[in-house]
């Protein structure tokens, strides 16, 4: 058994914490974490609920492998209806808190209602209490983290917390755990803050029970670790360069968007790449990168731990703020792209600094960077003026402006509050909605759908908006994993996208990290789940569960009011051809791929799962 079979229901309105048994029938269909929590959300909430109302629920969920010795098995997810998109939101995070939930004896925590005053949830195994958080309200995530550790006199306490922007209503607020890991996208932190819930602090010492079949488990786990160690991406590329290994790769294949996706290809990508993070800097001879670090149980260890040049303009006058002077979570590829390439800024230290700020105050750097990029384009187009920005010269490539506008966003004041609403609302306000590079209101990550066709279809159909980690076809289209497909082909991509989306849904429901799939196929993953858990988790059953989860999310979104019209990309990507580089002349051929995708999913041409599909998947 790898589930604790217990969930905690926290009613913030009433101030109660009530344990209840996990619905094992559902667990058998949806496994855990993303899938199972979505099932609970679907069963318990109205899809049309206002995401920021007390009637929305927020679920923190682990997977059955979370807290076991399977590599990377420390994940947890936050599932709710997202305020940025109005679609289902599901944000996955690593770090150490997932394991702590599990060790405290909880598979899942369901938050409902809204507390009358700020509170935090304290969990110490069976002791579960909502406690006053009025002293934490108005503090950054890092400050609150430190205060909670001190209050409880327990360095081993694991904390997930929201920052000041979430309190102020920034729609892309994250929930940061372990200081620099985040359930980052879709505004899950905004939902948390809307419930007056500042933090969850957990300490678990109960242990995670032995796997169902220990011999088979340790064999499958050892095989899996060996595969990760021997794979070039998971064994070398990721530990050495982190996800930042991709910056130069994606740029060189003509897949790196820049300047609010006006361009494909960023001529200064090298300056903000994983390789650049290793280069000694002039001032002190140290590299940006201090070391690599692992999340719980991870034998890949892709995490970046970086420091900022002490002489850099961003921190040279902040010697009194030790949090910027030492090392902390450094740039990952998506953040380096959105805050950097997409805004045209190639100042690695500035990017590291604003990335620290995103962690310190728990906001999604992808949406933040993209929204600023949109604002920069509007600024250069004259639609946003110096008066609007409060004097910030918001041109592409202006590192100082980037720092200023992000500090302002975190403060929630002036133009910062407008950035805090995301690019869709910002571009609508300033009269050019087409400049929002988003799908269903969620901004793009760092792969251009014109340069890489399959990922465009994934973005358009992803259940939480433009998201790469719902179906990371880049693996196949660029890296050749598990087989190389041509990035410029549209043919075969619907099948590829569906396969990646379904497999990912399963991986996200198991408690392990998606990055294992650079090396692992379902034939590596299923045996680990099967040996850990009750029931028969064959490759086929895993894939079917993945597809079931995907369809359940889709049906939730449909019920929430989304239609096939929302399965699209911004006009720019469909009409404006790439101007230069290896993918010059390309646009996204979404129109060719979408009907086929619907067909192989067993959906109507309006994107609605057919009765057959629903019955086949037991939905």
């Amino acid at each position: 058994m790898s589930w604790t079979k217990k969930i905690l229901r926290v009613n913030l309105t009433e101030g109660t914490c009530t344990p209840e048994p996990l619905n094992m029938e559902w667990a058998n269909d949806y496994l855990g974490q993303r899938g199972l929590a979505t099932k609970y959300l679907v069963e318990e909430t109205d899809p049309k609920v206002d995401p920021l109302s007390p009637d929305n629920k927020m679920i923190m969920a682990t997977g059955p492998l979370t807290g076991t010795m399977a590599s990377t098995a420390g994940r947890y997810s936050v599932i709710t209806k997202g305020p940025l998109t109005g679609a289902i939101a599901c944000s996955n995070s690593g770090g150490f808190i997932g394991n702590e939930f599990k060790n405290a004896g909880w598979d899942m925590i369901i938050f409902e209602g809204k507390s009358p005053t700020p509170v935090y949830l304290y969990i110490e195994n069976d002791l579960t209490e909502l406690r006053d958080a009025s002293h934490l309200w108005g503090k950054s995530a890092w400050e609150a983290d430190e205060m909670l550790h001190k209050d409880h006199q327990d360095p081993n306490l694991k904390i997930a917390v929201v920052g000041r922007p979430a309190e102020a209503g920034c729609l892309f607020s994250a929930i940061v755990n372990d200081l620099h890991r985040a359930a980052g996208r879709s505004g899950v932190g905004t939902v948390m803050a809307s419930k007056n819930l500042k933090a969850v602090a957990v300490r678990g010492t109960l242990g995670v029970a032995a796997p169902q079949d220990p011999d088979a488990f340790f064999e499958a786990v050892a095989d899996g670790k060996e595969v990760l160690a021997e794979n070039a991406v998971t064994g070398q590329g990721l530990p050495t360069y982190g996800t930042q290994v991709l910056m130069n790769v994606i740029n060189s294949v003509g897949g790196l968007p820049a300047h609010n996706m006006r361009d494909v290809g960023f001529d200064k990508a090298e300056n903000i790449s994983g390789e650049a993070m290793h280069e000694p800097r002039a001032s002190d001879g140290k590299a940006n990168l201090t070391t690599n670090g692992a999340c719980f149980g991870c034998t890949i260890a892709c995490g970046r731990i970086s420091s900022i040049d002490k002489t850099h303009f961003s921190i040279k006058d902040q010697a009194d703020k030790p949090q910027y002077q030492g090392s902390s979570g450094g740039l990952e590829y998506e953040a380096a792209w959105s805050l950097g390439a997409d805004t045209g800024v190639d100042d690695l230290d500035a990017l590291t600094y604003v990335n620290f700020l995103c962690n310190e105050d728990a906001i999604d750097p992808i949406t933040l960077g993209c929204t600023i990029a949109a604002a920069m384009e509007l600024f250069e187009d004259g639609k946003i003026t110096l008066e609007d920005t409060g004097g910030i010269d918001l041109r592409f490539g202006n590192a100082k402006a980037l720092v200023e506008v992000i500090e302002l966003t975190i403060s929630g004041k002036g133009f910062g509050a407008e950035i805090g609403q995301g690019s869709k609302r910002l571009c609508e306000k300033y009269g050019d909605p087409d400049l929002s590079m988003s799908v269903k209101g969620l901004e793009f990550p760092a792969y251009d759908p014109r340069g890489i066709q399959g990922i465009g279809l994934n973005y358009a159909t992803s259940n939480r908006g433009a998201c790469h980690v719902r179906g990371y076809t880049i693996a196949s289209e660029v890296l050749g994993i598990p087989v190389k497909t041509d990035q410029n082909d549209a043919e075969g991509k619907p099948e590829l996208v569906k396969a990646f989306q379904d497999a990912t849904a399963l991986v996200d429901s198991a408690g392990i990290c998606l990055f294992t799939t650079f090396a692992w196929g379902m034939d590596n993953i299923a045996p680990q789940i099967d040996a850990a858990c009750e029931g028969d988790w064959s490759v086929d059953k895993c894939l079917e569960a993945g597809e079931r989860i995907w369809n359940l999310e889709r049906m939730y979104n449909n019920a929430a009011g989304f239609t096939s019209d929302d399965d699209t990309l911004p006009k720019r990507l469909l009409k404006e051809a790439v101007k230069s580089g290896p993918t010059k002349g390309n646009v996204s051929r979404l129109g060719e791929m979408l009907p086929k995708y619907y067909e192989i999913r067993g959906w109507s041409d309006k994107g609605i799962p057919s009765a057959d599909t629903i019955s086949r998947l037991g939905l």
């Binding site: 001190k150 201090t290 070391t291």
Partner: protein
């Protein structure tokens, strides 16, 4: 070479073993005055809880001494003649020695109170005391514990687990005043009260009177408590009476030098009886704690064996488990004048911690600490105090957050420089 060790507590036993290791040929005699094999008083609470039987309190297996060729005698030493190098035992027999270790330990003291000699008033010090307490302290019986010091607190849990109605009466203003400050002692009191113990601090017992089959305990506050059993735990003193007239220099205990040797050559003292150097203060004091007893035993024995080993002073430290709430104190836990200190106090969670730093060139050196509700890696507090490690930038970090003590320790003792 005849080595005699007076006292068969942990100190004496460790000394005998150390001597044996240092000199396989030595003639070693260990003398204990209780009619049981050498045992540990530290284990008595667990005997009272009935986690262990009496043999569970034994310091070593009964065959151990024979195997080690240590001659164990069950006698009381009545006097020492340092000139003739001879001991007289309680049966009038004599023993010659070449080297002598006085490790005679300490005994409980009783306050001069009316009724202190009644049959059901006991100390809790020896195995025999424990047997008598166990015979009376049953489910539902009324027990008054006089003194909430270290000994009192350490048996408190055992008494509660035996199901007695327990009252604790402490003269001082808080529990364990020699180990915990007002805040920590106050928290401990609150904890005990919450667990159903009747705790009266700043209270003196004025008389114990027989009342039918039981007793009545009167306090200076005018309270009268019924008691089937009164346990006196008001402190201990070194066992030095038998040294009178021996010429051995005695104050609170036997005064020793930095080799743990007394004023008389070839006579050493160690453990609860020894007035030896305190690591923190540099003063010569009787510490009467277990870790010091075994440290003393080892160092004294090595010197007796002809090695020259200096005693740099023992860090005074205590650990106490009171009904599941664990407390510690180390070194100068009350702090030093002018030294920095930092504390965390979280009464709701029963957590308390203070760290005390030194002054001048030791301003970044940890000199003392006390904690409540902390168990992990606690030994590094001793490590940091005793090694006098300069914490450098970690001092300021600890001032901000003292829970980072383990990080401070590792940073100061390990090379953490990383190479990418």
């Amino acid at each position: 070479m005849r080595h005699i060790i007076i006292g068969a507590g942990p100190c004496g036993v460790v000394a005998a073993e150390t001597l044996r290791k240092a000199n396989p040929m030595a003639d070693i005699t260990l003398i204990g005055d209780e009619p049981v094999p050498p045992y540990s008083r530290m284990a008595i609470p667990y005997l009272l809880i009935e986690n262990i039987g009496e043999e569970g309190t034994y310091l070593r297996s009964t065959e151990h001494y024979e195997k080690q060729n240590i001659n164990y005698l069950n006698h009381r030493v009545s006097s020492v003649d340092a000139d003739e190098k001879v001991l007289t035992l309680d049966d009038g027999s004599t023993l010659l020695y070449d080297k002598l270790l006085i490790a005679s330990g300490s005994h409980p003291i009783s306050p001069p109170i009316e009724g202190i000699d009644l049959p059901n008033v006991h100390s809790c010090w020896t195995l025999d005391d424990a047997r008598q307490i166990a015979a009376i302290a049953k489910q539902g019986s009324n027990v008054v514990l006089m003194g909430a010091g270290f000994i009192g607190c350490i048996i408190l849990e055992a008494l509660v687990k035996r199901g007695v109605n327990l009252s604790v009466i402490e003269m001082g203003s808080r529990m364990v005043p020699r180990m915990l400050d007002e805040k920590a002692g106050g928290l401990l009191e609150k904890w005990c009260i919450e667990k159903g113990v009747n705790v009266l601090t700043s209270t003196k017992i004025t008389a114990i009177k027989e009342s039918g089959d039981a007793m009545e305990v009167e306090t200076d506050g005018g309270k009268i408590l019924k008691a089937d059993l009164v346990i006196s735990a008001t402190g201990v003193r070194s066992n030095i009476a038998f040294l009178e007239g021996s010429g051995i220099d005695v104050k609170a205990g036997v005064v020793v030098d930095n080799k743990l040797q007394t004023n008389i050559a070839n006579i050493y003292a160690a453990g609860d009886v020894a007035q030896a150097k305190d690591f923190s203060t540099g003063e010569y004091e009787v510490q009467a704690i277990q870790p010091t007893a075994t440290d003393h035993g080892r160092i004294a024995a090595l010197n007796m064996a002809g090695q020259s080993v200096e005693h740099h002073g023992s860090v005074n430290m205590n650990v106490l488990d009171t009904l599941g709430l664990i407390s510690h104190s180390f070194g100068l836990w009350m702090g030093v004048e002018g030294g920095d200190s930092v504390e965390i106090y979280n009464p709701d969670a029963y957590k308390y911690m203070n760290l005390r730093f030194g002054i001048d060139e030791e301003e970044d050196v940890l000199v003392g600490a006390s904690t409540l509700g902390m168990t992990q890696h606690i030994g590094v507090v001793r490590g940091l105090i005793e090694s006098k490690i300069h914490l450098k930038e970690w001092k300021e970090r600890l001032m901000q957050d003292p829970t980072r003590i383990m990080e401070a320790y590792l940073s100061s003792t390990q090379e953490l420089d990383n190479v990418i």
